[in-house]
Each structure stands twice: as C-alpha cells, then as structure tokens.
C-alpha cells in the first residue's frame, strides 16, 4: 500500500470502537498497541487546537426558487407580483412577507442579488451549481459536498463527512456524487424526496446488525473477516483491498458510534421539533444541526417541494405555491439559524441557500414564472459570512444584473473560502488533469466574507 494512501489512518481500525478489553479478547492483542494509541492521540490533537472545525450546511432548493418573490422584490414594477416586502433585522434589507421568521435572522445572512449564470435547463444548471462545472466530456466532477468534506473532515469524526438528506437526484445524478474523488467521498444518503416520502425515512439504511446477533457474535464475525482480509491483503496487496478494509472500518465505527444517535430525532424536545416543522425539510434541518454538532463537515438538506419532486419549479400558480413553500421554508431555516446560534455552532457553520437558477421576472400566462439564470439570488449565512447585507442589484424590471455580477464560480469560491479553504487547491481528476476546488477564473466575493 502506498504511503500516501488516503486509507492509511483507518487500516486496523474496526477495532477502535471496541473497548480495549474486548479488542484484546477479539484479536489476542495482536495489534492492540496500534489500536489503543490511536484514539487518545486524536483527542489530544483536537484539544490542542481548540478550534472547532468548519462545517457547511447547504439548503438545496430543487427546481429553481423564485428569487424575485423571496429576496429581490420589485414592488414598484409590474414584474413584482403580489407579494409585499417586509423589513428585516438588518437595516435597509427587505425580503418577502412570507418569510417573517427568517427576517428576524437577517443579521446573520448575506443576500446575493446579482447571480448571473448561463444554464436554464434543470439538469445542466443543477450540475453547474453543485459541482462548479458543466457536465462535459469524460471528467466526473465531484459535488461540492464531496470536495469540501474531503478537506474538512477530521480523523476523529465517527460519521461520514458528507450527508445528503432527502435529495432528488434523478435530474442530475452526477451532481450528487463524488465523481473522480471516488466512493469514499460519496454522500451518505438518508431519505429520498420522491413524492409521498415522509420524515420517517431520515435514517441510515442497514445500520443495524441482523436481528438475533449479539455483540460478541458480531465481534467474532468481524474477527473472522479480519482474518480473511489479512490473508487476502498479504497475497494481493493494493488499493482494492485497502479500500475495502477502510470502508468496513468506517462502517463498523459508525454502527457502534455515539454519532449514529444523531439520526434519533426523538431525542429532541417536541417543542423544538415543532418549531423546525414536522415535515421532511424541517426535520432534515434539525438532523443537519445534529450532524454538524457531531463533527460532520458537510450536510445538505434538499427541499424539493411539498408535493412534487420539483416544487420550486413554479411555471404555474407561482404565488399560492410559493406561499405554501414559504410556510415550510421559513420556520425550518430560521429555526436552524437560531438553533445553531444558541449552541455556539453558527460561527463555525456556513449555511448556503440556493437552487439551480432563479425565475423570470415577467409573469407568464399561467400566473407562473419560468427558468431564469441571467439575474437571480442566493443567500449565504453563518460562519465566515458578514451578515446583515444584500449585495448586488438587478435592474428595476429584474431582467438584468445592474451591479456587481456574481458567477457560479465566484459563489462557489466564496463558499470554499468561507469554510477556510483555498479555492485554488487541486485534486487529481479521473483523466489525469488536476482540477481546482473552484474554477481558476473565480473571484471570491470579498464583501460578504467575514
């Protein structure tokens, strides 16, 4: 196994969650020294630095939310539609009347009103916004979550670094995958947002041992497996067997971890669960907080609408649909900001709100709005962000960016920088060409970075 293998720290590690006594029983003490010295070292390391590692929560709005009705209202113009703006906690910043709770959190938010992108097709735009690149040729670009979690995860995190809650991946599956980084960086997916899904499904599949197998038996099985693996690795060393051992080590570690309890939402006070909202997105936001609390560096919560898979895709009946969606979005997002703040997690947690594009300022014949990438809004908040502001401007009719255009690459570079990473850092791609975390042409938005 090459010395620089990413799996090196895990190699003998399904022993780690065992108690030292059991570990000795299981293995006869063979590599107990390695196993025992491993955990305290990490703990010491975390204590030394005293800095909480950065995390990112992405609130992903499938379908393209109507920015002009939510964050960039035009009450003076006929394109403005029927929603009224309201003042927020941030002086001079107004947002939609149907986001009253979020308005109270506005000091923690930076609204970017001058997104200017090129893709107006759901699949391609989703790919671009979530990976930074167009699906092009053979390069399998990783999702933002894979890229960031790879950099941010700490060795003592018992859970996977990238958790994706109720994603609707159908339109652009590659935009939800680890791409050339490989399955080690794939999201742990819980829940799925097909029609008819409820929040009951926000759990990890296959995380319980088979019924009727007690702990000693599981240990015996793992010890047998470890024997087979050791023999196989001795005869046929290489990436494959290393990767297999590392995945099993992480899986066993997660099964046995305290961290897995993050998925037991019943541990939370009923009152708090109510405040988030008793729906997949609300409970997903709560789960995101619980995961971040346990050291998971990247969590995304997809909000695909209350009925269909592309709820934000309001080609028809834009206003009543949005009102319903806001009824879910507002309490969940606002409670998330509040909850993170109260637990001292907000300084280290970046919250990103975006969809694949905005919607046409003009209202169509079905009282709806269509796809519009030319001028739209996204929102950043929490850790690393200078809140209480709205950046950039669109024209009076909303059709063009009037001030401070921001590209997809600029936005993603800002996200990368806000979590403390260097956007020019490179990963080797599957075609042997190095790819930077964010496109080299990107300029992070300095005005919103704290």
């Amino acid at each position: 196994m090459p010395a620089n293998s990413p799996h090196a720290p895990f190699t003998p590690a399904w022993s780690v969650p065992l108690s030292r006594r059991r570990w000795l029983q299981v293995t006869g003490g063979l590599s107990a020294a390695a196993g025992a010295s491993w955990l305290p070292q990490l703990a010491a390391c975390a204590q030394q630095t005293g800095v909480r590692p950065r995390s990112c929560i992405l609130l992903w709005m499938s379908g393209g939310p109507s920015h002009i009705d939510l964050f960039d209202l035009k009450p003076e113009h006929e394109n403005g539609g029927e929603f009224k703006p309201i003042d927020t906690a941030a002086p001079g910043v107004q947002i939609c009347e149907h986001l009253p709770k979020l308005a109270e959190q506005a000091r923690r938010l930076a609204i970017i009103r001058s997104m200017s992108t090129k893709e107006g097709d759901h699949a391609r735009a989703t790919h671009v916004m979530r990976t930074g690149y167009l699906p092009q040729g053979p390069i399998q670009y990783p999702a933002l979550g894979s890229l960031l979690s790879k950099e941010l995860i700490s060795a003592d995190c018992e859970l996977p670094g990238y958790v994706s809650i109720s994603p609707f991946i159908g339109l652009a599956p590659a935009a939800f995958g680890p791409g050339f980084l490989g399955p080690q960086y794939a999201p742990l997916i819980v829940g799925s947002s097909g029609p008819g899904q409820s929040d009951a499904a926000l759990r990890v599949q296959n995380v319980e041992s088979h019924p009727g197998t007690d702990a000693p038996q599981v240990d015996r099985r793992l010890s047998l497996l470890q024997g087979f693996e050791a023999d196989f690795a001795a005869a046929r060393p290489g990436l494959m067997v290393d990767s297999h051992r590392s995945a099993y080590a992480s899986a066993v570690r997660m099964m046995r971890s305290e961290g897995i309890k993050a998925f037991d939402l019943d541990d939370e006070p009923a009152e708090l669960r109510d405040r988030y909202g008793r729906n997949t997105f609300g409970q997903g936001c709560l789960l995101a907080r619980r995961l971040v609390e346990r050291g998971v560096p990247f969590v995304e919560v997809s909000f695909s609408g209350t009925e269909g898979a592309l709820g934000w895709d309001t080609h028809q009946q834009n206003f009543p649909t949005l009102k319903t969606l806001c009824g879910t979005l507002d309490p969940a997002w606002a409670t998330l900001m509040d909850d993170l703040g109260q637990r001292g997690l907000l300084d280290s947690t970046l919250v990103v709100w975006m969809g694949e594009f905005g919607r046409t300022p003009s209202i169509n014949n079905n009282a709806g709005r269509d796809h519009f990438p030319a001028a739209w809004s996204t929102v950043l908040g929490g850790g690393g962000i200078r809140g209480g502001q709205a950046l950039g401007k669109t024209s009076a009719d909303g059709m063009t960016v009037a001030e401070r255009p921001v590209t997809t690459a600029d936005l993603l570079a800002t996200v990368v920088q806000a979590v403390g990473l260097d956007p020019t850092k490179q990963n080797m791609s599957n075609v042997g060409r190095p790819i930077r975390l964010a496109d080299p042409a990107a300029r992070p938005i300095e005005e919103v970075l704290a």
Partner: protein, 531 residues
C-alpha cells in the same frame, strides 16, 4: 434405402467445412493468444519484470466465470472443474461459457453500459434499456460481428412517434435508444459515437479548438453534420425531450452554433476526407460504413482496448475511451496487431475473447510474488478488480442459494422499479471505467454486512449443509468455501476454522459459528472482487 440426397450432401459438406473451420479457428485463437504473450513478455524483459506464476485451476475458473458469465460458478461446477484431468480443460471451460446463457446475459449488460451509458446514470433513461438489451441479446446469441452491430445501431430507424415510451412497452428490440439517450442532437450523437466506437474524444472541440489535441471546432461540427438530418422536437423546455423526430435524409450540413463567422460546415469524416455520397444511402449509413471500415485506424483498436480492459481491469490505452495520439498505449504494437487480428477475423467478438483468455498473460495468478508486478500496466499479475452491481447481486444469490441456478443464469431483472436489487444498483453503480480502482463505500459495506442477502439465519446454503447427513465440520467448511470464494480452503485455514466449529458444545452453537464463517466469507474482498 438410405440415399444421400444432394441436399444432404451439401449439408454434410458444409458440416465438414465447418468442423475444419473450427479447428482452423482454434489454431488462430492460440496464435493470437501467443501474440499477446510475446508482446507482454518482451516488455517484461525490457522493464526487468518478474511475472507471477500461472493461476491454479480454481482461481482461473472463478475468474472466467465472472469475466465471461458475470457470476461465480456453483459448488458442483468448481468441484468438477478442479477434478477434471483433461489437459485442455481451461480452453473447454471457456467454450462452454461462451456457448451458454451466462455469457449472453453478462455481455448484454456489459455492451449496454458501453453503448448506452446514460441508462446507468440517469434514471429517466433507464426505460430505454430493455429494448436496447433485447436487440443486443439477439445479436450476441447470433454472434453477430461487431462491425455489423455498430452499423445497425448507427442506422437504426427513428420513425417512432415517441421514443421515450418505447422502452415501457417493450414492443420491439431496437438499438434506437442510442439516439434517444443523446437527445437526438447532432452534437451529442457526434461526441457519443466517436467516443464509444472510435475511442476518440472530440467533445471539447464542440466549444473551442482543443489546445492539445488535433481536433478543431470545425472538425467536430463537420462530423456532427452526418446527424444533421435528425430534427429533434421538444415538447417544452421543462420536460424530458420527447422525440417526435423527423429525419431529413439529404441534409448534410450544419451551422456552427454561436460562431462569429457564422460558418456552415459540410459533413466531413474526422480524418478530413469528404464522403463519396451514393444514391439512396443516408448520411448516417455513409458515416457508419466509414466508422466500421477495416482500415479505420480507430475502430478495431478501440474495441480491442475495451475488451482488454474488461478482462484485465485496465486498458492498453487508459482511459479506455481515449485513443488520442497524446495518450500513448502501454503496448502500442500489441494494440495495433490485436486490432488487425480482430478486423481480419471479421470483428468476431468471441474470437477476441478466446484469444485474450487463452493467453498466458490472462491466466497468471493475482498473487504478488515480486514487487515489479505492482505496476498494473505491465500485466505481470492479474489485477484485483471490482464487480458490477449485477455480478455482486447474482453472485450473492448463487453463493447463498437464494435463487435456483437457472434464474441466476439470466440477468437480474434490472428495471423493476422497487426490486430488491435496487439497492445494489444504486450502491454499486460504477463510477470509474477502471475496475482496478473501484473503491468500496460505507453504504456498500453496510448493505453486505447487514442487508437481508447475508442474514445467515435465512440462507439456504447453510440449511443444506446442516441438513446433509454425516458431513464433518471440515466438509461443511469446504462447502462454504466452494460456494462463496470458489476454492477449497487451505490446510491451515481449514484447521483453524474446524477447531472453532468443533469447540462448540451444542449443535446450535456450531450452527452459529458456521453462520459466522459464511457471513465473513460473503463480506470478504476475496468474494466481492474478481482476482
């Protein structure tokens, strides 16, 4: 009484000729296998490589079963193969596999993934797969030559009113899904056909002249112009494109989109040649003839490279679909010569498979005996390779006795919306074209550890072993090994495990330990990989 009619005589003559051809072919297979070994060995000498030894029978047998048939062999098959004293048994085993249903099932799925990769990644396009596979299956059963298959695909009639619903009805076996998956767009069809059939990546030249490669923007659109007659109709910007396509057979030019000079290009082959248009021959037909021509420098080599990668886990050219001049093959002469042999044998896929698996290079063990074997492109030991989702699923079924053998022989029902193999398809979907660096994910590990397929309390194989009268612990363990990792346990292994079983006082406890051994085997690298 029994007169030989002229008809019979002709038939007999044909039989004799056929038999003669078969022998001739067997010789030529061996000659081509030797050609592989000669080139690989020559490079070993230059690089100072000490190659691994020949695989033993069980190792070889499991390997070809997975590579050709896509599923591990049964206990009985392993036992008979290992016990068979015939010197020629490896070659015979290959013939047996190639003439059976497992080869058809496995390569139908393999070629579908090559030709219609979108069905793996885009759930919306999965509906295209059944009729595409229906077409492939029949071609593989007939052993249709590869050039003919590709010509059929590229010239498939597109007269349907709605290509997206064809898959659901399963009315007809047709390769037309290739066009639907490319949204009927000339640029997608150009990029896809060049990459899939020629190993040429011209995609980047779609938007700009490529700084490193020979492909220019004009060339890309000239090539795309062969598909210019296909006029896709979109129902609305939001929906999956509905293909109400009309084909204009004599349209052979395209305007380059967003071109400052507003150039219009005529259909031109990638090498710059202008086609000789023939009457009543569509532009797609003209292109298909050029792509599959024997003297096309890319077609045969691209195909040889794909099959090589299928069996060795790594192409002679890597990535497998990039034969650009800048991407030098590990063994350039071998690729050229194998390409020539493939073309000379009428693009016979089975011939190529036979030649590869009968080579000594393919039959080397995967056990590492020298550090010069670590560089995979030297092919000095067999690489450990990841399995497809279907192979993992089918092999689990076979190993645990979950499905009768004849069911396991056929492909899994791939497109059931909520089949129990759904999780396997999602979690084991290929993310890399290189089986040698397929990595295991946490969710895969959880599925095999804790999923229903490995719940030993319910596995028939364990029931069978326990129900069989008078089996010793050693024999029980032997059967578990044969059933999962397709080999006999080594003496030390067996001793250790027998002791663990026999140390248990009650039959219940013994049963538990046997179940644990089975569970561990099913979760092992040795079971979950081909090697």
């Amino acid at each position: 009484m029994r007169r030989i009619t002229p008809c019979c005589r002709i038939a007999l003559t044909l039989l004799v000729i056929a038999a003669g051809l078969r022998t001739a072919r067997a010789d030529e297979v061996q000659a081509t296998a030797n050609l592989i070994d000669r080139h690989i060995e020559a490079r070993w000498k230059i690089d100072g490589v000490v190659p691994a030894e020949l695989s033993d029978d069980a190792e070889f047998f499991r390997r070809i079963n997975l590579h050709i048939g896509g599923v591990i062999p049964t206990v009985w098959e392993v036992r008979s193969f290992v016990a068979d004293p015939t010197p020629d048994k490896r070659r015979q085993a290959v013939e047996h596999l190639l003439s059976g249903p497992r080869y058809i099932a496995h390569f139908t799925s393999t070629w579908r993934k090559v030709m219609l990769p979108e069905t793996e990644t885009d759930p919306n396009l999965r509906a295209l797969a059944p009729e595409f596979e229906g077409w492939l299956r029949q071609r593989l059963i007939d052993n249709t030559s590869y050039d003919r298959m590709v010509r059929e695909l590229l010239t498939a009639p597109l007269s349907r009113s709605n290509a997206m619903t064809m898959g659901n009805t399963g009315r007809e076996a047709t390769p037309a899904g290739f066009f639907a998956a490319k949204e009927m767009k000339p640029e997608n069809l150009a990029a896809g056909s060049a990459r899939t059939f020629l190993g040429v990546r011209i995609d980047c030249a779609q938007c700009h002249d490529h700084p490193f490669d020979a492909w220019k923007r004009r060339q890309f659109w000239g090539y795309a112009a062969f598909f210019a007659g296909i006029v896709p109709a979109r129902a609305g910007s939001d929906d999956i494109p509905v293909q109400q396509s009309v084909e204009v057979f004599d349209r052979r030019e395209l305007a380059i989109p967003d071109d400052i000079n507003q150039r219009v290009v005529q259909a031109t082959f990638l090498n710059g040649d202008q086609p000789e248009w023939k009457p009543r021959t569509s532009s797609r037909q003209t292109l298909a003839d050029w792509i599959t021509a024997r003297d096309n420098p890319y077609f045969a080599r691209a195909t040889v490279n794909r099959l090589w990668a299928h069996f060795f886990g790594l192409g002679l050219v890597d990535p497998v679909d990039d034969l650009s001049p800048a991407n030098i093959p590990s063994h350039p002469e071998l690729l050229d010569e194998l390409g020539r042999e493939f073309a000379r044998h009428d693009f016979d896929l089975q011939f190529l498979i036979r030649a590869i698996v009968n080579s000594r290079t393919y039959q080397l063990t995967s056990r590492r005996t020298h550090d010069s074997q670590d560089e995979p492109s030297r092919f000095a030991r067999m690489a450990v390779q990841g399995l497809t989702a279907e192979s993992v699923y089918r092999s689990l079924q076979r190993a645990t006795g979950a499905a009768p053998p004849d069911v396991a022989d056929r492909s899994v029902v791939l497109f059931a919306p909520q089949g129990e193999d759904q999780q396997f398809r999602e979690l084991f979907a290929n993310v890399t074209d290189r089986p040698i660096d397929r990595q295991t994910s946490i969710l895969q590990a959880l599925l095999i550890m804790n999923g229903p397929q490995t719940d030993v309390r319910q596995l028939r194989i364990l029931e069978a072993i326990l129900a069989f009268p008078d089996l010793t612990a050693a024999e029980q363990i032997e059967t578990l090994f044969l059933s999962t990792v397709s080999r006999l346990p080594a003496a030390a292994e067996s001793a250790r495990l027998v002791q663990a079983v026999e140390a248990q006082a009650s039959p219940d406890e013994r049963r538990k330990v046997l179940g644990d051994i089975l569970w561990a085997l099913l979760n092992s690298s040795e079971f979950l990989f081909n090697h």
